[in-house]
Symmetry: C2
Subunit: 309 residues, 2 copies
Amino acid sequence: MAVVQTSIASDRDLYPSRTYPEPVKFSRQDPVVYSDPQKAAPLTKAQLAEYEEKGFLFLDDIFGPEELSSLISEMKSMCLDEAIKRRPETITEKGSGEVRSVFSVHQLNKVFAKVAEDPRLVAVAEYILGDSVYIHQSRLNCKPGFKGKEFYWHSDFETWHAEDGMPRMRALSMSITLTPNDHNNGPLLLIPGSHKSFISCVGETPKDHYLSSLKQQEFGIPDKSSVADLIEQGGIETAVGDIGRIILFDCNTLHGSNGNITPYPRSNLFFVYNALSNKVSQPFASDSIRPEFIGARHSIKPIKSVIFN
Amino acid sequence: MAVVQTSIASDRDLYPSRTYPEPVKFSRQDPVVYSDPQKAAPLTKAQLAEYEEKGFLFLDDIFGPEELSSLISEMKSMCLDEAIKRRPETITEKGSGEVRSVFSVHQLNKVFAKVAEDPRLVAVAEYILGDSVYIHQSRLNCKPGFKGKEFYWHSDFETWHAEDGMPRMRALSMSITLTPNDHNNGPLLLIPGSHKSFISCVGETPKDHYLSSLKQQEFGIPDKSSVADLIEQGGIETAVGDIGRIILFDCNTLHGSNGNITPYPRSNLFFVYNALSNKVSQPFASDSIRPEFIGARHSIKPIKSVIFN
């Protein structure tokens, strides 16, 4: 059972993790939506309220059919590209050698670079984060069918804070689905309201943890009791939907997915937008620095702003 | 791609598996419903037609609330019983040592023994199989939440034939659900119509395969291409439903389940009824005999018939 602690943990680290011998639950110390609600917004008031309350929002019909076709064809060729298979940014399946994920796709692929800077997406990220933004991480997930493994519940922010040095909860993810998600092919599961607490995880970060954590995370995972409590309160929402749906979620929303034994792959394009004022510093709970393609550090480049000057 | 072969394979073995260098698809050589359709039946004509066509059927409202309470309380105490934990019939979770499954529960537990012989269940099994029946295997699945592993697509008959020597497709399973099944806690997935084909699997059975296959099956699994074809034709049906639902399925219906990262366990009571005329002989594709608690051989005891004399 996690100890509940609502005060600020220390001057230096608002969200300590991987330091205490047992789980501790902190209240979130940061806003969820940063912009002034009176300001003209790229989302409706209802959408913003839903995002603030649940920690995520589904956006449909952002991309037209032609745009989606182009993204899908780009995804397919990249997932099969032999040169891509050999790159350090690429994670392959053990055994088959098939591409599972490619990191930093906004730098490796012109079409995906353009999507990352698409004003429709950037305006949403900027409004919610109340700042200019940059890409902290991008990823294309190819996830072939039949053997998709489960991914246990986690907060991305916990890892970005502990291992990348992201100071505050002022980042969000957009997952653009490129295959239909139904209940059986391992859709994203999200815990509504979980973004309002920070679960401090137990266990020190091993050196070069990223080498194993991208396949199966073993550190930075919240304890069962805290997860059960959050699900008891908020339930579980399943991101089933058509191709093109964007799953927009706060950096601290707990999410995970079950495996996928169906023949249907589950592919998506994934961008993490971070506020420019929330740039990473030294990792809060790790001695090593993850590679640039997993968390931008030296190559931080603000995206041309749609809202901010 | 499986070779399609519709004729009978050999005089001795109608369903050869684990013998050819590549997958072969055979047509089913046996009926699905054995009794004369003119005879009074414990199921409606529509139910029987559905079972025959899809290879499975969901039965609700067989047990009343009090019966279910008693089954659930028996399940809970058995899953936590320290003496049960140490028995050879019990499979525990690696690490936590929690009980995952207990075999032969119709012999270990009086309440479950009574359910196995309940005339409401026996009448259905006898009618479909057109014969007196006995329990080939019984199992209580405790399946704790959070870490339920996936179970890949398989035909139970393939294993019972290859490893236990069950000659024909004249057996069926009843899974009595003792926890609610929703889309997220790893419900049973079934492929409608898959029972009409027999997929001959590739790979010889290793010695004492059962020791590992109960945790993760590696032999006797159908090839991806055949599974994809069957799903293309029949789709996937998900056994979501309330406590007490009985999932009745033919011995050759392909089924599997994704993992379960939710806190919700997925428990059920599982009985395999085999026709008395279909008793096991020597395994068709294995040098070793599985233990009695996994497949009845010496202790075969017909259940007192409801329909047959």
